[in-house]
Symmetry: C2
Subunit: 102 residues, 2 copies
């Protein structure tokens, strides 16, 4: 089964570089569920450590717009600005994870 | 800001144990986007390595039902059975990841 993988929305190259420190600070309010280092502390809340910034950004915008629905994330994402979203996404992507070989 | 974290749906304790080998075999058709070891190979496709089984299971069921919309995942999840979903979710959770301290 050949699956054509086109996930990424058009990547605009003009967005200013994200601020990792601001992202880290903002992520403190996410830590209760997603963990201080992005490893989930709550069943049903995904790990975010090392997750692609483009994916996290996309999902936060979907939660903010309602395109993706979740009671908690809909409330949390609503007030986020584009800059805060991009800083959060960059912060989580910056957390390096490695797969432990079996 | 206190965020009440209630993500997990009721965890039924009677479901049969997932089959990791079957999950690994099924995940081969996901590897082009999500990577053979669950580390994404495609912008916009999330890493799944070490992701919580309850979260992966929930999201695959949402894609299958249409509660969560994505052109690719809607097509891919549609034919999946509950058993295949639980095997896939268990497989990805079984991939151990560690956060690389900074």
């Amino acid at each position: 089964m050949f699956a054509l993988c086109v996930f990424g929305s058009a990547i605009s190259t003009s967005t200013p570089a994200a601020d990792l420190d601001a992202g880290k600070a903002k992520a403190m309010s996410c830590a209760m569920c997603h963990g201080a280092n992005g490893i989930s502390q709550m069943p049903g809340a995904p790990n975010l450590a090392g997750q692609q910034a483009i994916y996290v950004e996309q999902q936060l915008k979907h939660f903010r717009s309602g395109k993706r629905s979740n009671e908690i994330m809909g409330v949390i994402a609503k007030p986020l600005t584009d800059t805060e979203i991009s800083d959060l996404a960059a912060w989580y992507e910056s957390i390096k994870v490695s797969v432990v070989e079996r």
